[in-house]
């Protein structure tokens, strides 16, 4: 049901019920008069108007955006204030219907009981109002999370580059006659990559060594395909293996290096992967490849280039401002991609 309609049904129905129930018990006790009906309906109308005014205030000043502590204080204050006003209203209503008993109705105890009763009713109202709000909100935040997951999944599926897989399989098919042993190891490497890409999305970060193994498998397969046109070099500081990094990140960078670098060069080129620790124990990962980075412009047309923005986004989500990503040209022949991964903290897994 529409949220606004639900509110009106509950608001009207609730306070009407309040008046009727009160009148019912009153009639059981000492019979019912027109004056009592008028008085109780007036009181219910006052409740109706005052709570509606509270809702208006809550919405207008967007109380839902306040932190919990501030929100509770505000709500408590307003409930107390409304109860006081309500207590006065009861006196005025009695006065209007000429049922005011000056001696009885101004006794502190009676006033206190009236105050407390209206406090209870207002609290009940506030409780229900906020309960509905938070339940509804919880629902929509679940939907939001589902959407995010879906987007992530699409991203991941795109990352598993079909062009690479089919080319690799094609090379392997040719290798079966030429070098069966090499063909066998290529099949193993390909299945390693496929398996890794299927399971890795369960983790925010994984040990550096696991990612590096995948990258090695990947580059070995590309070496089969490009042969003498691709040269690969690694320079990994042993300390790097103590770090954890986001899965598929280095892999994506290396894949881009092949796709936009090596595969566009007739003579081919090099890929160098270098990892070492910075002064503050941050892990620096450099990937240097032949080619030139031309910025996002040239890629936009084909819907590519979201590899980079995706990487930046992921680093930001996981490490906040402590990680960094850079891509720049080194001279006329090389592109360098640099990632800084901050020293690990414990809450990451």
């Amino acid at each position: 049901m529409d949220k606004n309609r639900l509110y009106w049904v509950l608001q009207v129905g609730g306070w009407l019920g309040f008046a009727l129930v009160n009148l019912f018990f009153m009639s059981m006790d000492r019979g019912i008069t027109a004056i009592q009906v008028g008085a109780y309906f007036s009181l219910a109308t006052f409740y109706f108007l005052s709570t509606h005014f509270l809702r208006y205030t809550i919405k207008k000043n967007s109380w839902f955006e306040f932190p919990l502590e501030k929100l509770s204080k505000k709500v408590l204050n307003s409930v107390v204030l409304l109860s006081l006003v309500n207590m006065l209203a009861q006196i005025i209503i009695n006065l209007a219907f000429d049922t005011l008993n000056l001696v009885m109705d101004t006794k502190p105890l009676v006033l206190l009981v009236n105050l407390f009763t209206s406090f209870l009713f207002y609290s009940l109202w506030v409780l229900m109002y906020f309960l509905f709000y938070f339940l509804d909100n919880y629902n929509s935040s679940l939907r939001y999370q589902a959407k995010i997951n879906e987007i992530k999944l699409i991203h991941l599926r795109n990352q598993l580059n079909p062009h690479f897989i089919f080319n690799a399989l094609n090379s392997v098919r040719a290798l079966v006659d030429e070098d069966p042993a090499k063909a066998k190891s290529a099949i193993t490497q390909l299945s390693n990559i496929l398996r890794y890409s299927l399971v890795m999305d369960k983790h925010r970060v994984i040990p550096f060594g696991e990612e590096l193994n995948t990258v090695r498998d990947y580059l070995n397969l590309e070496l089969i395909r490009f042969e003498e046109r691709l040269k690969v070099a690694y320079e990994i500081e042993p300390a790097a293996f103590h770090y954890k990094i986001p899965p598929m990140m280095l892999q994506t960078i290396v894949e881009n290096a092949i796709k936009h670098g090596i595969s566009n060069l007739m003579k081919g080129g090099i890929i160098e992967i270098k990892c070492n620790l910075g002064l503050l124990d941050d892990l620096y990962i450099w990937v240097k490849n032949s080619g030139q980075y031309k910025g996002d412009r040239s890629n936009k047309k084909k819907g590519e280039g979201h590899g980079i923005s995706n990487t930046i986004e992921r680093l930001k989500l996981i490490y906040g401002p402590r990680a960094s990503f850079k891509i720049y040209n080194q001279g006329q022949e090389f592109v360098v991609t640099e990632i800084k991964i901050p020293k690990q903290n414990l809450i990451l897994d």
Binding site: P162, H163, I165, F166, N167, L169, N170, S171, R173, A174, L175, D177, E178, I224, R225, F226, E227, S263, N264, L265, M266, G268, K302
Partner: protein
Amino acid sequence: MRALVVDDERLARKELINLLSNHDNIEVVGEAINVEDAKEKIEQLQPDVLFLDIQMPEKTGFDLLEELDHVPLVVFITAYDEFAIQAFQVNALDYLLKPIEPARLAETLVKLERKVEELKKEQIQEAGGPAKKLTLHDQVFVKDGDRCWFVKLSNVRLFESDGNYIKVYFDNNKPMIHKSLNALDERLDEKSFFRASRKHIINLSWVETIEPWFNGGLVVTLKGGDRIEVSRRQAARFKDLMSL
């Protein structure tokens, strides 16, 4: 049938040649490793058919076709490229996906053979025409943005120069190719195509009516309604050509 295999990867070429070696009706006369290499070998070997990989370094298979004057039959090969497949599905003779399925390749070869037969018949019919010139039966490859076509020259009614480009008019399309009208004029068979003016070359088989115009010029109306002015200098030649 004589085939040229164009792919930058040695293993991919080897795999395809290996698959083709199972068929007697096709002979692989050469391999090319990039667009420049392919251009030379096409010139030199005159293959009937190209097995052409689309993704190659620096220049793609499409670039190669655009640079060729005379386009042989083409079978495209790609590992994975949805857009390219969409683009050439309607126009190309066929396309193959890597890794190539032997049964699928056999089908392609049947289609190829049929097409080659057809072309031979056409060529016999117009025997005596000067070799090396583009006749109505030749096809050109035209790419405009994401779309591409193999167009038979008999379907092209008009070439119009536009800066460094030529607009090619056929059906309801007029994509541009990067060429000069003079260079094209030299390559076209003068029996079928006529240089009407500095800006236009018309296909004579599309001419519907001819009317006199100012200064001794002519206006030609093509089937489909395009009206083209023939300059005074060319008008005399045109009259000679059209009269018995």
